[in-house]
Amino acid sequence: MGIGLATGAYALSFGAISVASGLSVLQTQTLSLLMFTGASQFALVGVLGAGGGAIAAVVTAWLLGARNGLYALSLAPILDVRGLRRLGAAQMTIDESTAMALAHPEPVQAARHAFWMTGLSVFVLWNIGTAIGALGAAAIDDPSSLGLDAAIPAGFIALLWPRLVGRSMWAVAIAGAVLALVLTPVLRPGLPVLAAGLVAFVASWLLGRRS
């Protein structure tokens, strides 16, 4: 129930921000149906809306979606899916369904039930919320007059917030933000954000050497 309401509200803001960033209602809805992973969707429309190229937007979305692959690795032995069910399970592999499945490790049926129920209900609510937000924003003449351009960084900071646990995460966040700002005047929009992804690779290497 709590996840449902939070998802609907989150999707509503995605739909509105996507349309305010210049995507059509249909393009916005396609993202929620096919991409179905919030941070990547926000990043894609954010980069496009800021005047970034399609390639930069796509690669940023991919990098942000890489963590879902790690979730799938953890879920594979629990779900034990084959064939079409595996294709469906892949699409349902997101933050919420993974967290719920891993929170109910025993018995394995409970974990599977939690995964599918959470995945499917979030999918439905995510798409309904997206439609309402997108249609609402499309009905407004000038979305930027409503401060939607300020809603975009606020959305990203809300996604970032729960991940800022520990000094190394803060250091990576600050370094990524500073590098992106320094590169903004010299690189095309979209590329500074991608360059900030390098900070994560360097930090990962440094942390690996230390341990």
């Binding site: 990547s40 937007a57 990524g176 500074p192």
Partner: protein, 103 residues
């Protein structure tokens, strides 16, 4: 161009999800893979926050968005839900512009 981004982006993120079901589970025990998948979203999201707050094209500016983001952080410190965080940021920026206090 937008359709290309929508479809190519969706295909790649789906493949990332699917690949996890096809790779051997021993990948999970590799600390470098766990580390980088945790760090990447932090670096990228922080960069997105910075750029979307200060950039207009290739120029850095301070405008009503910054006030919106500061209010959003206050809302997060007060444990406000996602929609409230986004709404207070938008309302803050809209009010400052309506009052002529910021661009």
């Amino acid at each position: 161009m937008i359709w290309f981004a929508v479809l190519a982006g969706s295909l790649g993120t789906y493949i990332a999800k699917l690949v996890g079901y096809l790779l051997p589970g021993s990948m999970l025990s590799r600390p470098d893979i766990r580390r980088i998948t945790g760090l990447l979203p932090v670096a990228l999201l922080a960069a997105l926050v910075a750029v979307q707050t200060f950039a207009v094209g290739q120029t850095l500016v301070i405008d009503a968005r910054l006030a919106g983001v500061i209010v959003a952080v206050i809302a997060l410190l007060l444990r406000a839900p996602f929609l409230v965080v986004v709404l207070v940021a938008a309302i803050t920026a809209a009010l400052l512009r309506a009052a002529g206090l910021a661009t």
